[in-house]
Symmetry: C2
Subunit: 209 residues, 2 copies
């Protein structure tokens, strides 16, 4: 069956727990995780190559010039980008690659990789989302209001995703995402070679009778 790896793009509302879900997908099911490059300074505890590939502005701009990113963007004076080589190497090895990215980046990726699977992680309902943002306890009211505004805007972007997966229980959410990825691998559109082989083999077997 389908031998090529799948590119899985995961987005979701702020506070919905997508980082934790992605971490668990990698641990439990062995997906390859694409690590972004950035020019922002590492925060305490962040490890180069694990949380981000930390780059200088000069390094980053050179990589842009050499077409080293699938997509990149600038937020609040910092660059963020998805290194191309890692993703393409993993896909050609037949590995499924997960990429956690915000909506705009996801759209850029879909343009270049129409076969990519876009998954949006959401909350059971808006009140739950608000409770989670408040429950973090690290953000003040202003930040929460800003995140809710952004979530409101992002509801219009959900339609561009292939799947919506609710994160109510983390383990269920992770297994649901895994089911989606498995199912994508079974799509007949991804298995044309298998069909052709089956046809040729059946022809040989019938003629040998």
């Amino acid at each position: 069956m389908n031998k090529k790896g799948l590119l899985i793009v995961i987005s979701g509302f702020s506070g919905v727990g997508k980082g934790t879900a992605v971490k668990k997908l990698v641990e439990k099911y062995g997906y390859s995780l694409s690590v972004s490059a950035t020019t922002r300074a590492p925060r305490t505890g962040e490890v180069d190559g694990v949380d981000y590939h930390f780059k200088t502005v000069e390094e980053f701009e050179q990589l842009i010039d050499y077409n080293g990113f699938i997509e990149w963007a600038q937020y609040v004076e910092n660059y963020y980008g998805t290194p191309k080589k890692f993703v393409e190497d993993e896909l050609s090895k037949g590995n499924n690659v997960i990429l956690e990215i915000e909506v705009q980046g996801a759209m850029h990726i879909k343009e270049q990789y129409p076969d990519a699977v876009l998954i949006f992680i959401t909350a059971p309902d808006a009140q739950t989302l608000k409770n989670r943002l408040e429950g973090r306890g690290t953000e003040d009211e202003k930040v929460i209001a800003k995140r809710l505004k952004r979530a409101f805007e992002e509801t219009d972007d959900m339609v561009a995703y292939d799947y919506l997966v609710v994160n109510d229980d983390l383990d269920v959410c992770v297994d649901d995402i895994h089911s989606v990825i498995c199912a994508e691998g079974f799509k007949s559109s991804r298995n044309r070679e298998y069909m052709q082989n089956m046809k040729s083999e059946l022809e040989v077997i019938r003629n040998n009778k």
Copy 2:
């Protein structure tokens, strides 16, 4: 999320074990199974309402006249059909309905229910399929040759199915089909109502701040 039941159409090569897979899907995951109607005589051990709804030719023809079937066909002088009421009642109750049917019937169903999920069960390779047909021990060489010819022709029909699932190990095959059905329920195209609700709820929550 998606509240409406899914119509799942399962076909597959003769000898591939689709009957056993469907039986296990119903037992393990509680899917509703659509039972076909037929005018052929019951075979030893077949139970009316379980294996088929056994009908007289008069009864069957009346049901055709009253639009009682989603699809029907005539093979070797016998009628076979899929009763419409059961399927539509289950779908509107939010239950997922499985329908095991051959390729032509599956195509008729897709025309009427474009949202139906079409799954084709196949073997790992042609030799395995041949071994299984021979292994049954109940068929003579002529019948096996005929089935292989039909399988060869059906390879061209696989492309019309949404998914191909290999039956190598029965339990894996059943779980794979279940994953496909779950994933279909997560499609954003099947969850427009959820998106709309999320948007309205977020608007209310933001305005209440």
